[in-house]
């Protein structure tokens, strides 16, 4: 059997590629494929692939079956009466349509490739960086900014050698009491840096306790959170209701109850 694939066994992406190559290399009219010849050549390819230990996908086997099926249908004698009335469906038709569709996309791929070659010869040099503002300043302090600071501190603490003092196990109510005392010693107009407050804590647990204490006090409206700009340091200062909040004994009792 003469084969157009004599020199070396080419690699085909799939059976359609193989079929198309057989048809085009031999300049066969795709609308009148000599199915017996093509089937033989197709099977020959599969045979040699097997000899060379090249594994072909299941789709190659499936296509072989399709080809053999078409070949057998072509061999069936045609009903002359039927052939007169209406042209019998060509058993090859569906395969031809698939091959043509496949070929269209091979051409389309080629077209895309050409376009890429042009694009690779073209350069842009946008200068947008010069016009990108650094982040917008402003905005009120949210809980979220607070978390941002906590995260920074914890991150740094993680890379620092940790000296956890075993005995130093502060509860949140205790921390609130400490913070309250600290604020009372601080002039009302002055703000305390949250970052510094965190950094002063000896352990991670204490940092968390301080964090929760600040949250509680903000909720109680004992303190106000202030920030100059979005990435600026967050600070706390006494709320105008500071004295009022701590004057009622129930407030602290409720917190202590909550953390029991």
């Amino acid at each position: 059997m003469s084969s157009p694939l004599n020199v070396q066994l080419e690699h085909y992406e799939g059976p359609l590629d193989l079929l198309l190559d057989l048809i085009r290399k031999q300049e066969i009219d795709i609308y009148d494929i000599p199915i017996a010849r093509i089937t033989a050549q197709y099977l020959d390819y599969m045979q040699r692939a097997a000899e060379l230990d090249i594994e072909l996908g299941a789709e190659f086997v499936y296509m072989a079956a399709t080809l053999i099926h078409i070949k057998s249908r072509m061999l069936l004698p045609r009903d002359p009466a039927l052939a007169e009335a209406e042209a019998e469906e060509d058993p090859r038709r569906e395969l031809v349509e698939r091959l043509l569709e496949h070929e269209r996309f091979k051409h389309a791929a080629e077209m895309l490739y050409q376009k890429r070659i042009i694009e690779e010869a073209v350069w842009s040099n946008p200068q947008i960086r010069q016009f990108l503002d650094e982040e917008e300043p402003g905005l009120a302090v949210t809980l979220f900014d607070l978390v941002k600071v906590l995260q920074q501190v914890l991150e740094r603490a993680r890379h620092r050698p940790v000296y956890e003092v075993a005995g130093e196990d502060v509860s949140v109510p205790e921390m609130i009491a400490r913070l309250k005392a600290l604020l009372e010693r601080t002039p009302a107009a002055e703000a305390l840096s949250v970052r510094e407050l965190f950094e002063r804590q000896p352990s991670r647990r204490a940092v968390i306790a301080m964090f929760l204490a600040i949250l509680e006090m903000a909720k109680m409206q004992a303190i106000r959170l202030v920030q100059r700009d979005l990435f600026g340091d967050i600070a706390i200062r006494r709320h105008r209701r500071f004295g009022e909040v701590f004057s009622s004994p129930e407030a602290m009792a409720a917190i202590e109850e909550g953390y029991r």
Partner: protein, 217 residues
């Protein structure tokens, strides 16, 4: 498309005496601003975006952009204002690539795509939105492996799910695809029919075929 001439020196006599574009100050300024914007922008800019930012009618901006593109198209310019991905983008002209390459600092990595990937990309470009099983069916190959490559390169993206058994994911091409392939929009792609013509011309086959009328498939 109709192109409005910003330059009133369209009169041949006037053009002879006045080689400069004789536009009034405001027009000149608008042209200058738009040139600066197109130069600065990283992504293709649309007339609508510029119109919104400058508070000018979109149609005016579009006309200036077209005039700008036309002006830069002339051979004494090494830059071009190209119509890409629905917007305008400034870039060097491809014919100067050899000389320009030497001065490019960061060489962009080439978008190396295998033939299989390009075929799949073409398939998605023409048939979108399309599912992986449909792609495999047309390509006659079981592997949908190139989809991952195309997704990673941001040339395709998912487009919901198809309401058939198994609800397979649909894929479509992205804006990045248009940019990477220098396409104005998807309609700029040649039709699949045109590829048939191409093949016919190449092979000089008679145009009598049963296969060309398969629009329903």
């Amino acid at each position: 498309m109709e192109v409005f001439e910003v330059n009133p020196a369209a009169d041949p006599a006037e053009a002879a005496t006045l080689p400069e574009p004789q536009t009034d100050g405001a027009d000149q300024r608008l042209r200058a601003v738009i040139e600066a914007i197109v130069y600065v922008a990283e992504e293709p800019v649309t007339a609508a975006q510029i119109a919104a930012a400058l508070g000018q009618p979109e149609e005016t901006i579009r006309r200036v952009l077209e005039a700008l593109a036309e002006e830069y198209d002339k051979p004494h310019h090494g830059l071009a204002v190209r119509h890409v991905a629905g917007g305008y983008k400034m870039a060097t002209k491809p014919e100067h690539h050899e000389a320009v390459r030497a001065f490019v600092k960061s060489l962009k990595p080439p978008l190396k795509l295998s033939l299989a990937a390009l075929e799949t990309l073409a398939l998605i470009a023409y048939k979108q939105p399309i599912t992986a099983p449909e792609i495999m069916e047309i390509r006659g190959v079981q592997g949908a492996g190139v989809l991952k490559t195309l997704l990673e390169r941001k040339l395709i993206t998912t487009a919901g799910r198809k309401n058939v058994v198994g609800r397979p994911i649909l894929y479509k091409t992205t804006k990045e695809f248009l940019v990477q392939f220098g396409l104005k929009d998807l309609s700029e792609l040649p039709t699949l029919k045109e590829f048939d013509e191409l093949r016919r011309l190449a092979l000089e086959e008679p145009a009598t075929d049963p296969g060309s009328g398969e629009g329903a498939a």
